[in-house]
């Protein structure tokens, strides 16, 4: 019994310590965004790597999510004779919840793990130390552009996810199941308010920063050797997915 409490205490202390360390890491890396030299090319490269290269997976996920939502929604709404509300149901589900969350999960799986592996390998092959000895701050050179790219890319990908998802819902609801196209879009226009859109944007900003922080932090402080990088990569995917869902609950309760 005593050891149970001791282990719980040890775990709590370790989580608190890691959280504090990660927060300081984030603040330092973001602070360095305002210190010269500025590296817009590196930022653009990261936006390309995190954002553009995730487009295909976002398109696919969004299209199928919208299609499933429309399919499920249609048969549920039909029971109450409210098929015309399909457009608003699909749009609200996507804009408020599924768009930001699924985009974040996809980005963390595709780009987050790759970032941890990239920075982790730089760490174990002393490339980060090499930067440091050349008087180039490794945090500013490697981490800051990735954090900023996450802040830029994830909201944009979320917006794309929402549009593609709505079109996927349109394909199934209107073209396949025969809901009126006018009803699909007019229901959407009437029910989606700016609070829904703003809430989605805030969520995607928070998720983007969270994913990049977890990915960069785990890579930067990776363990030794290939095994260290491997476990850091796994930790990134697991921790960022859990944090995204936890943040989602907190932010949803805030915006309700």
């Amino acid at each position: 019994m005593f050891s149970l409490f001791r282990n719980f205490g040890r775990f709590s202390l370790s989580v608190t310590q890691e959280t504090g360390r990660a927060t300081l890491f984030l603040m330092e890396a973001l602070g360095l965004a305002f210190v010269p030299p500025y590296r817009p090319r590196r930022l653009l490269r990261e936006v390309y790597s995190i954002g553009c290269k995730s487009l295909l997976i976002i398109f696919l996920t969004a299209a199928f999510t919208g299609m499933v939502l429309a399919l499920q929604g249609y048969y549920t709404l039909k029971r109450y004779g409210s098929e015309s509300a399909l457009g608003s149901a699909v749009a609200l589900s996507l804009i408020r919840e599924l768009g930001p969350v699924l985009t974040a999960l996809m980005v963390s799986g595709r780009a987050g793990s790759a970032i941890t592996a990239e920075i982790g390998i730089m760490r174990i092959t002393e490339q980060l130390d090499a930067l440091d000895t050349m008087a180039v701050n490794p945090l500013q050179y490697v981490v800051t552009p990735k954090l900023l790219a996450g802040l830029i890319s994830v909201p944009l990908l979320t917006a794309i996810f929402n549009v593609v998802g709505i079109l996927g819902g349109f394909a199934v609801g209107v073209l396949l199941l025969g809901v009126s196209a006018g009803a699909y879009f007019s229901g959407m226009v009437q029910s989606v308010v700016s609070l829904d859109i703003n809430g989605g944007i805030v969520k995607s900003l928070v998720f983007g920063l969270t994913i990049m922080l977890v990915a960069c932090y785990n890579g930067y402080f990776t363990g030794r050797g290939a095994e260290g990088v491997s476990s850091a990569t796994t930790r990134t995917v697991v921790v960022s997915a859990v944090l995204v869902l936890a943040w989602d609950y907190v932010l949803t309760s805030f915006f309700m």
């Binding site: 490339q127 090499a130 000895t133 008087a135």
Partner: protein
């Protein structure tokens, strides 16, 4: 000149450096020898400012790198070049871009001047021009060391630190790298601190030799003086005798 004063450092309660005192004279190459795991690389990382000691000071031309922060630390590091054990070349950049990197980041030279200087440095370490556009994973271990040497030299540093510069190389390549270190030192006049356990090959470039044992410097002098050192630990190490405590 590098002056290491009473530097101590432990990792997880295990003492690695226990009061190291060493002076590496300006314009000379000082080689730190010692068994694997003696703390040579840890000492070098302290000199490079990558690690902070628990106790002691490291003076680089009079400035204490262990206490320097911000711009002062950056200024000290600008005078450094470091050749890492594995080369630490950036794998996403070509050989030429790797050598050009410090100039791109730290100078306002034009692209043309940067690449011209980088090519000069690559020629100085006898690297064939056709390798310039290759990536680090496409060249041999010996070539990687030479590219790393060219990168370390490109900013014309006053101090060059070498972490096991020939480990893993075959004897001819080992001698080539040592020859290049001696040649570039003669041409550039930098102060060198080399960490190595490649005995006696490393003596060919050493002006001074220091032996690190159990976290302390137990012998220091010219290569001839260290070879004649009366301490049996030094003699056993130089002769490569079996360490029965480790077998």
């Amino acid at each position: 000149m590098i002056k290491i004063i009473d530097v101590a450092r432990s990792f997880n309660g295990l003492p690695v450096l226990q009061g190291v005192n060493l002076e590496a004279p300006a314009g000379k190459i000082t080689v730190v020898i010692g068994k694997s795991g003696a703390g040579k690389s840890v000492l070098l990382k302290h000199v490079a400012g990558l690690l902070k000691p628990d106790r002691g000071r490291i003076l680089i031309h009079g400035a204490d790198i262990t206490r320097a922060r911000g711009r002062e630390l950056q200024a000290i590091k600008k005078g450094f070049g470091v050749l890492f054990q594995g080369g630490a070349l950036f794998d996403s950049l070509t050989v030429l871009e790797n050598v050009a990197f410090p100039l791109r980041e730290k100078t306002r030279l034009t692209e043309e001047e940067i690449f011209q200087r980088a090519r000069q440095r690559l020629a100085q370490v006898n690297l064939p021009p056709e390798t310039q556009d290759k990536y680090p994973d496409e060249i041999s271990g010996g070539m990687k060391k030479r590219v790393a040497l060219a990168r370390a030299l490109v900013q014309e540093p006053e101090i060059l630190l070498f972490d096991e510069p020939v480990t893993g190389l075959d004897p001819p390549m080992m001698n080539t790298v040592f020859h290049l270190i001696a040649k570039t030192r003669q041409e550039s006049g930098y102060t060198g601190l080399v960490v190595s356990h490649d005995i006696p090959a490393v003596f060919q470039i050493a002006d001074y030799v220091a032996m690190l044992h159990q976290g302390r410097i137990i012998a220091f002098g010219t290569p001839q003086e260290v070879e004649q050192h009366p301490n049996p630990v030094v003699q056993n190490f130089l002769r490569g005798e079996i360490d029965f405590l480790e077998t």
